[in-house]
């Protein structure tokens, strides 16, 4: 087996004495895309900034192709970062923007513009080379920003919620398109988002981040078998029963009559109803668990109705990290 392209060994980051994350390990294969998903304020942006070198790691080491880059200056790292905003340089044309990074890479002047032109074509904006950023739409600007980051041929591409400033429709279009482009060019990438759908779509693996990685794995696996209550609630559609057990929401059953099963049955109150993909969902609160849960049901229910929510005992699971410890 080859050694991974990107390796993080026991990295930590402290602001003064408050830890943002501690003792993280992570490795990425060449060409792999990993999504990091977590709520805002979970420290995922700080992790990216540390990787880019805009902030130093307090502890730990970063290796790229077995070369230690922990102390390397930002501008010398073979890492590129796409921010939330396109941040194009307003005084340069699109072509100059994309070619910007090439000027610092011992690439002959004559070769820079053809390279940039090729990338502009790949991001589907051929013909805009002589335009200025302010003449482009938000989505176009973000694509140029991506092209500019790809131009320097980074060993690792970091994307910090790059679609968050775009509208929903465009966001869905962009993520399909960006994933295809990254795969085609075999770019190793870390993709940060707070949107779990986006994370599942973009990543070969996803990492659930909340002051450190809660769980890393393939999207399906993380979705179906969460390792902690946090992952179950944040990433999967599960209802956490207690510290050790959860049940997938789709296997919950709603009845108006008491089903007379003592185990895994809770009283609930209907809060409201919504339609999603043609199905009716009810949001209800379960006072005994102090939780809200959204369950599909064909019943006609009104806000304020009392209901019973039941789970089959065989569908109730333990968190995976507990299983391995047992």
């Amino acid at each position: 087996m080859t050694t991974p392209c990107i390796q993080l060994h026991q990295v930590s980051k402290f602001f003064q004495s408050d830890p943002v994350f501690q003792n993280l390990d992570l490795s990425l294969e060449k060409g792999e895309i990993m999504s990091i998903v977590g709520p805002s304020g979970s420290g995922k942006t700080t992790l990216l900034r540390c990787l880019a070198g805009l902030e130093p790691f307090t502890e730990g080491r970063l290796l790229i192709n077995e070369k230690d880059l922990t102390g390397t200056e930002t501008n010398k790292r073979p890492i590129s970062l796409v921010f939330q905003q396109p941040l194009l340089f307003p005084h340069m044309t699109i072509l100059e923007n994309v070619a910007y990074g090439l000027a610092f890479q011992n690439i002959k002047k004559k070769e820079r513009h053809p390279k940039a032109r090729e990338l502009i074509q790949q991001v589907g904006l051929k013909g805009y080379e002589r335009s200025y950023p302010h003449e482009m739409s938000g989505g176009q600007q973000q694509r140029i920003s991506l092209a500019r980051s790809l131009a320097i041929q980074p060993k690792l591409l970091l994307l910090d919620e790059p679609f968050s400033s775009l509208d929903v429709q465009l966001r869905i279009e962009m993520r399909t398109w960006v994933r295809d482009l990254l795969k085609e060019k075999q770019i190793t990438a870390l993709f940060i988002t707070h949107d779990r759908e986006e994370a599942m779509y973009m990543g070969d693996r996803v990492g659930i981040f909340h002051g450190g990685f809660q769980q890393i794995g393939e999207p399906d696996e993380v979705y179906q078998f969460p390792s902690t209550p946090f992952v179950a609630e944040f990433f999967g559609d599960h209802m956490v029963i207690d510290e050790h057990h959860y049940v997938p929401v789709q296997s919950l059953i709603v009845t108006t009559q008491d089903p007379n099963t003592s185990q895994y049955c809770w009283e609930g109150i209907v809060k409201n109803s919504i339609f999603y993909h043609g199905n009716r969902f009810y949001q209800m609160s379960l006072p005994s668990l102090e939780r809200n849960v959204t369950v599909a049901s064909a019943l006609e229910l009104k806000t304020g109705d009392n209901v019973y929510v039941t789970a089959y005992p065989e569908r109730v699971n333990s968190f995976t990290n507990l299983k391995s410890k047992e």
Binding site: T74, N75, S80, Y100, A103, F104, R130, S149
Partner: protein, 269 residues
């Protein structure tokens, strides 16, 4: 809609004419005509006397160059201090930051004369009184606060994000400064240059005290003329005086063209 736009245009030109064009043109007119007296009615007498008197002042050309030189050095020092201090004040957090900002503004709050007289003694001891070095240093006192303030605001409105984005793409700090900071801060830099140049140009008292008569700037030549009642000569002198910042402006704009990624003649496609 069109009507209000037209209306505003007219308004704009009326204000421009009254406040800017008229005074300048009137000054030009005055420099070529004899002062009006009661007997002369409204008939203008053309004369070159004003300009002849001006150029017969043997210190004029040298004083102009001294002013230009001192002004240019003051501008360069202001830019160095302003850009570095402005960057630090905009982006770094440290203890006593607001105190430092207040201290930088002090020279405009405390009377300049008080500072000058105090500094004069120090300069005599250091042996830079009566030299152009001393004059340059004292001209920094009323200009630095403005330079730091303007460039700090320039950096603040630029924001860290775009500078970080540039840095990630590989330039070293100096390359980044030339390709990103300077072009994007151009409006702030331009304001700093002209403000500090004009302030330096018009300093009379502090130049006289520190220069001790050895350093003769244009202001020092200009002020004695105020005693002469000849408004024709005065008008000619004022125009000469005003020409200096104007020439400096053109020079600076030409220098700006040397920055990377400048395309002043670009027409929209």
């Amino acid at each position: 809609m069109m009507k209000t736009l037209r209306h505003k245009q007219i308004q704009f030109w009326v204000y421009i004419s009254i406040l800017f064009l008229f005074p300048v043109l009137f000054l030009l007119y005055k420099s070529f005509t004899l002062p009006m007296r009661y007997e002369t009615h409204l008939h203008a007498h053309f004369t070159m006397q004003g300009w002849v008197t001006l150029f017969s002042e043997n210190q004029l050309i040298q004083a102009t160059f001294v002013s230009l030189g001192i002004g240019a050095i003051v501008v360069i020092l202001n830019l160095i201090v302003g850009l570095t201090a402005g960057y630090a004040l905009a982006f770094y957090d440290f203890k006593g930051k607001s105190l430092l900002e207040a201290l930088i503004l002090f020279p405009i709050i405390i009377p300049l004369l008080a500072i000058t007289i105090g500094v004069h003694i120090a300069m005599i001891r250091l042996g830079i009184a009566d030299t152009w070095v001393g004059v340059v240093l004292i001209h920094l006192v009323p200009t630095i606060p403005y330079a730091v303030k303007i460039l700090r605001n320039g950096y603040t409105s630029l924001g860290t994000a775009i500078l970080e984005q540039a840095y990630v793409l590989g330039p070293d700090p100096w390359q980044r400064f030339l390709s990103i900071d300077l072009p994007l801060l151009k409006p702030a830099i331009r304001s700093t240059i002209f403000l500090t140049f004009v302030i330096s140009l018009s300093q009379y008292v502090i130049t006289a005290i520190i220069g001790g008569g050895n350093v003769v700037t244009l202001a020092l030549v200009f002020f004695p003329f105020l005693n002469s009642a000849n408004s024709t000569v005065l008008a000619a002198f004022s125009i000469w005086f005003a020409l200096l910042p104007f020439l400096f402006y053109i020079l600076i704009e030409l220098l700006f063209l040397l920055l990377p990624y400048q395309k002043p003649w670009r027409t929209r496609s």
